[in-house]
């Protein structure tokens, strides 16, 4: 019998981003995602949008992402206490990827943290925003003020020609180096810009006040290199780039070791072992995790998608696919999966059970497509 979650509150209708009217004019197909209505694709289609991002530059509306500022002299120390990263060592003007962990070593969320002065600007997953806010509010000391910026949109400009396109309207932004952050005025609006993204390409994320979002997006779309791209292409791009998606490839019961994210654990943190879940994570580092996130190339043209069961050559249970698609750049079916540690080495063959039939799949190194971040 299915378990029904009873609630007194009716489900909230999905929220519109400030670019809803623009998406409609562009012919987007809108879908509900993490409580928001977002474009899954425009008329060009997911594969064309994916390829255009790798060849030139695409504009994505990622306004569903949570934008949170922690301000006050104790902000860095307070966030450091909740994450695996060296947040106190993050210099002003720099950005870092980090993880909020729980006492069991599970990942509460993965997020970007950018430092400007003493303030930390966080970009968190849409579906985790409420959970993160509750967690942060419950842990922050009184001298750290938390602001949830529900009045700001987030635009991602991604691709090898993103910098030259952005340089025409925001020369200062195009001067940023990878994983740097700056605030600037563009077309009369106060923007916070980072050079980073979720595609494996060079690119930028622009935090924009709601009332300027459509104007800035239109300026970017006016650039000859830039076309709009939706959530569908964002997903296939991040998959090729080997970047995990929270709720699929990582969650509260996966640890940074299992997820292949031990590189996010700061050097000092590995000396002090003072982050939430450090005992469990240290044990996995010393003795090995039972399962590991891997990349798979699946034979044939039928994608192995999330939930697809994986079986070892000897017929034993091997693991589960957490996300998978047809990869336009690789022109092959790729997947991320958790596999038993003894099966996780590159080159190992396992079988994806697709509609009851075993289809060969091979473990390959991540990313599937090399990152092309600027140096």
């Amino acid at each position: 019998m299915p378990i029904e979650i009873l609630t007194d509150e009716p489900p909230l209708p999905p929220r519109a981003t400030p670019l809803a009217a623009l998406h409609e004019r562009l012919g987007a197909r809108m879908v509900p995602f993490a409580g928001w209505m977002l474009p899954v694709q425009y008329p060009a289609g997911i594969i064309a949008e994916h390829r255009h991002t790798r060849a030139a530059a695409s504009l994505f509306d990622v306004s569903h992402m949570g934008q949170v500022t922690l301000a006050g002299p104790g902000a860095a120390a307070a966030l450091q206490a909740l994450t695996v990263g060296d947040i106190t060592g993050l210099r002003p003007g720099r950005q870092r990827y980090t993880l909020l962990t729980n006492e069991a070593g599970g990942i509460i969320d993965d997020l970007m943290v950018a430092r400007l002065g003493e303030a930390l600007h966080l970009v968190v997953n849409a579906a985790r925003t409420e959970a993160d806010l509750g967690h942060l509010r419950g842990c922050l000391p009184d001298d750290v003020a938390l602001t949830h910026h529900e009045d700001r949109a987030l635009l991602a400009l991604q691709g090898p020609r993103a910098a030259e396109a952005l340089a025409r309207i925001a020369p200062e932004a195009a001067q940023l180096r990878f994983m740097q952050v700056a605030e600037m005025t563009v077309a009369g609006a106060g923007l916070r810009v980072t050079r980073s993204g979720y595609t494996g390409e060079d690119g930028f994320e622009l935090s924009v006040p709601h009332d300027a979002a459509e104007r800035i997006a239109a300026l970017l779309l006016d650039q000859p290199e830039v076309k709009p791209a939706g959530l569908g292409a964002r997903d296939s791009l991040r998959l090729e780039a080997g970047l995990p998606l929270y709720g699929h490839d990582i969650d509260e019961i996966t640890t940074p070791v299992e997820a292949g994210l031990t590189w996010t654990i700061g050097k000092q943190r590995r000396v002090a072992w003072d982050f939430p879940g450090s005992a469990a994570i240290r044990d996995q580092l010393d003795n090995g995790a039972p399962r590991l996130r891997v990349g798979l190339v699946v034979e044939g043209r039928s994608p192995a998608r999330a939930g697809c069961v994986l079986v070892a050559a000897d017929g034993t249970s091997a693991g589960t696919v957490t996300s998978g698609t047809f990869a336009p750049t690789r022109e092959a079916c790729i997947a991320m999966a958790y596999l038993r540690r003894d099966l996780a080495a590159d080159g190992t063959e396992v079988f994806a059970m697709l509609r009851g039939k075993p289809v060969p799949a091979r473990v390959v190194p991540l990313p599937f497509v090399p990152h092309r971040y600027p140096r």
Partner: protein
């Protein structure tokens, strides 16, 4: 030109004598997005009306395709194996999925006509 009829599951059927050609509608391909793989029923397979007998995979999702009428599959569209996107470009023509000999040609009349199908997709 034989008449084309439709199912509520977004297949189209064109009947010529007792032979039906089956595919997915242009509306369906538009909803699915880029099609990357099509699995078709083998010739000789007996199918019941409404039986899942083909699978279409788009970048976004996998969807079943149902036999619109009972009968025996006689031919599958080999062109889709090499070029699944044909089902996007020419959904209701060259991108057909399979042909079948229908057990009861009169059952064709129970399917939606073009007007009824257009109404269905407008409401969706």
């Amino acid at each position: 030109m034989p008449e084309t009829r439709f199912t509520t599951d977004h297949e189209w059927v064109r009947l010529d004598g007792a032979t039906a050609t089956v595919g997915i509608t242009d509306h369906a391909q538009g909803q699915l997005g880029d099609i990357v793989f099509v699995e078709l029923p083998q010739p000789g397979r007996e199918v019941a009306a409404g039986e899942a007998c083909a699978v279409v995979e788009s970048v976004k999702a996998a969807s079943d395709v149902f036999a619109p009428l009972a009968g025996r599959v006689t031919e599958m569209n080999a062109a889709l194996a090499d070029d699944p996107a044909l089902a996007n470009r020419a959904a209701e023509g060259e991108g057909w999925f399979f042909r079948m000999t229908v057990a009861d040609p009169a059952a064709f009349e129970t399917l939606l006509d073009a007007t009824a199908y257009a109404k269905l997709t407008e409401e969706a």
